[in-house]
């Protein structure tokens, strides 16, 4: 958003993926109608923005100059807001956030605890400008970094700046970005490529999606700077087919950038020719691995190959290729513009700058947050995320996607860094943080991850193709109560062997969930094996459903909903579950208003 209207209001409506799912487009339509009805067209300006962050509370609407944040709006609310707030200047308090602790109303976005420990660099524009309008990006300092790089910095100077900044790859591995750039810069070839890896495959990670949907030009600018520095003429954005909105906004942004000569021939009248093509993925997790991704862009099965040679020397079509993740590239314009010194003043140790995390799972405030590296895990989950809902207890936080691990309560004080998470047998990964409460079965969840990686294995190397299937078979036995203690040793042995012998990153890290949970939650595995019990009451073969006859009021709800007709009983009489028919689907439990369904 820019050039605020004199004495008028700027109304920002979040049209990130999550808010659209909560019907923000309909809210926008209604707002336009009401504004026309009250003839306010000259007094207010509507801006459609990317993700504002607190996805749980969408649709969100932010009203400037004061920065009033309305939440969970429905069409019927709009008339009142227009009449009261926009016409009479009276903020409609019932649609605002309230403090969890004091119950006090929080009017301004800045005062919401969710935003207070955040530092938005990459997400600076996300949720504040219209991603489909290049003018807004430019008016907020957009493409100034490209101009500066082209006019003031030689490629070597730019590389030095990136190196000094301490920026590391945000895709997960944390390799120093400046060093990678230097490799490609020094590689001798008539042709080089720049690729943006937007194949955000980790479940529970949606930051790249938000950046592409909310501020696509920042990625294009980052790529153009990279092209200038390494000497590439062609770039590709490899984006998942699951993100249609991101694809659409990128296409619009590319077209606008070409028209304004930020892409194309002689960019900004300098000696830089560069253009970007979109390549749409087709649903293969392994394509997030850089050599798999390259094979996919070449139109082949996305199977990784062994490295070296690294893509920096032999990449796309055998030419030197720079591959960076979306978030990494989106940091570049800021570093070029504000300098390495500024960037490296944020963060701790060898972990500079900010990182975006996607909070989800059993947490109050789900959504997208950007924080300086070095914030503790506890601050992220409890201060920003608001802790665990429904009075449940925190059990662990799963980081790093299917190749990550589960970090338990005892380590909540750990400052977040690439190294600290690795020391805890987890990884930074792309930044997904899935919070687990006491109702999550760690063994069942681990089985879920191994099933995921086993089915996403490309099948090229034996350790990953066969080994993960064997691990899955053992985990199946454990969750079914059919395992023996010996199986745990076998599981651990297999996990360690696959880590050492698999060909690519997918296989090498796939056993991480097993290793990390065996370290912190071994007792839960043992309960499944020795006692044939699932402590979280999730694993179906180890639980039974029954009805507490004293609590049951005989309301018939569960009886009607049970798909198996396993529940019997008359109105106002206690019901019973026929264990032979029960398939443990949990519908009765979800819908009982009297807490009468017991799981043992």
């Amino acid at each position: 958003m820019n050039r605020r209207m004199p004495r008028g209001l700027d109304i920002l409506i979040c049209e990130g993926g999550a808010c659209i799912s909560s019907h923000s487009l309909e809210v926008e339509d209604e707002l336009k109608k009401q504004i026309a009805r009250y003839n306010l067209k000259d007094k207010v300006r509507i801006v459609k923005t990317g993700c504002m962050g607190p996805c749980q509370y969408g649709p969100l609407m932010l009203v400037y100059p004061e920065g009033i944040l309305y939440k969970e709006l429905i069409i019927a609310d709009i008339k009142e807001i227009v009449e009261e707030h926009f016409l009479k200047g009276r903020v409609v308090e019932k649609f605002l956030f309230k403090s969890d602790i004091t119950g006090e109303i929080i009017r301004e976005k800045e005062n919401l605890p969710f935003f207070q420990k955040q530092l938005k660099i990459v997400l600076k524009n996300c949720g504040t400008i219209d991603p489909e309008n290049i003018e807004e990006y430019i008016n907020n300092g957009g493409y100034q970094a490209l101009k500066k790089a082209l006019t003031e910095l030689s490629p070597s100077q730019a590389i030095q700046e990136i190196k000094d900044s301490g920026l590391r790859g945000r895709g997960g591995a944390g390799f120093p970005t400046g060093v990678k750039w230097e490799f490609v810069f020094k590689a001798k070839s008539s042709e080089k490529f720049v690729i943006c890896n937007a194949d955000e495959g980790d479940p529970g990670a949606f930051m790249d999606r938000a950046v592409l949907e909310g501020d696509p030009h920042t990625v294009i600018e980052g790529m153009s700077i990279a092209a200038y520095v390494v000497g590439a003429k062609r770039g590709y954005v490899y984006v998942r087919a699951e993100y249609p909105l991101a694809i659409e906004r990128l296409e619009i942004a590319l077209e606008q950038a070409r028209k304004r000569n930020f892409l194309g021939e002689n960019i900004l009248k300098k000696d830089l020719n560069f253009d970007i093509e979109l390549r749409i993925g087709a649903g293969a997790f392994v394509c997030g691995e850089e050599t798999g991704l390259i094979a996919s862009i070449e139109g082949k099965r996305g199977m990784p190959r062994s490295r070296p040679p690294f893509p920096a020397t032999r990449g796309l079509w055998g030419k030197p290729t720079l591959i960076n993740n979306v978030e990494t590239l989106a940091n570049i314009p800021h570093i070029i513009l504000k300098g390495a010194k500024w960037f490296s003043s944020i963060g701790i140790d060898e972990n500079k700058g900010t990182k975006i995390f996607a909070l989800s799972g059993k947490i109050k405030n789900t959504g997208l947050v950007e924080v300086p590296l070095g914030l503790t895990i506890g601050e992220l989950i409890f201060d920003i995320g608001g802790g665990i809902p429904d009075g449940k207890k925190f059990k662990a936080v799963q980081t790093g996607g299917p190749s990550g691990g589960c970090i338990p309560q005892d380590y909540l004080d750990t400052p977040i860094s690439y190294e600290s998470l690795k020391d805890l047998d987890s990884i930074m990964g792309s930044g997904g943080m899935i919070v687990l409460d006491e109702d999550t079965c760690i063994v069942n969840l681990t089985r879920f991850f191994i099933e995921f990686t086993a089915s996403e294995s490309c099948g090229k190397c034996v350790p990953c193709r066969v080994g993960l299937q064997q691990m899955l078979a053992i985990l199946d036995r454990i969750t079914q109560g059919k395992a023996v203690m010996e199986d745990l040793n076998l599981l651990e042995y297999l996990a360690k062997s696959i880590t050492k012998t698999a060909l690519c990153g997918l296989g090498q890290t796939a056993p991480n969930p097993v290793l990390s949970t065996l370290r912190y939650f071994r007792d839960e595995y043992e309960a499944h094996i020795k006692d044939k019990k699932c402590p979280a009451k999730v694993c179906k073969d180890l639980i039974t459903y029954s009805i507490d006859e004293e609590a049951c009021r005989g309301c018939l709800v569960c009886k009607k909903l049970c798909p198996q007709e396993a529940i019997t009983g008359e109105r106002k009489e206690p019901h019973r579950i026929n264990q032979d028919k029960c398939i443990k689907c949990g519908i009765c439990l979800e819908n009982c208003k009297f807490d009468a369904i017991k799981v043992e």
Binding site: E242, A282, G302, T366, L445, C458, E590
Partner: protein, 164 residues
């Protein structure tokens, strides 16, 4: 799809030919062409794969190898509505699997298959980034969040009612 007349079919192949032409100067276009082909035909029968192979001068086995590698490409025709249950981690821990089971029962169809009346195809996804709204499902491009089994079944019934 199989009931479409010859003329419709010809028209589809004509459009596919146009698409392939568009990619003439773009290296490694196979996956992008297959996406567009699937948009035109709804799925990728072997006949279409053979056609693509011939037009871009590669072997059928190579095209088939690519089609079967990627989850997004479908070898069988799909129903009118594509129902996708997210089984990403966030949805999984919030009970996405329960929703899948409920719909499998409610629609009397296994994951990956199409109902007998050709109305619904039930699939799962690895995560479509709606983690903030977990558990989520998608019917075609419409995302529904914060579900439970009952709500999910009601949504499906809503679509069924539209077709009665």
């Amino acid at each position: 799809m199989e009931f479409s007349s010859c003329k419709e079919k010809e028209e589809k192949y004509r459009r596919l030919k146009e698409v392939i032409k568009e990619y003439r100067n773009s290296p490694g276009p196979l996956i992008q062409i297959l996406h567009r082909a699937q948009n035109i035909f709804g799925y990728l029968p072997k006949e279409v794969q053979r056609f693509v192979a011939k037009e871009i001068g590669t072997s059928f086995s190579r095209v088939y190898g690519v089609v079967t590698f990627y989850d997004f490409f479908r070898l069988d025709p799909v129903g009118k509505y594509n129902v996708t249950i997210c089984l990403g981690t966030a949805c999984y821990v919030r009970g996405g699997w329960k929703i899948l089971e409920a719909l499998e029962r409610g629609l009397a169809v296994e994951e990956g298959k199409t109902t007998k009346d050709r109305l619904f195809t039930l699939t799962t996804a690895r995560c479509f980034g709606s983690c903030g709204l977990a558990p989520a499902m998608m019917v075609d491009k419409e995302v529904y969040g914060r579900l439970n089994s009952k709500k999910a079944l009601e949504i499906i019934e809503g679509y069924r009612a539209k077709n009665e």
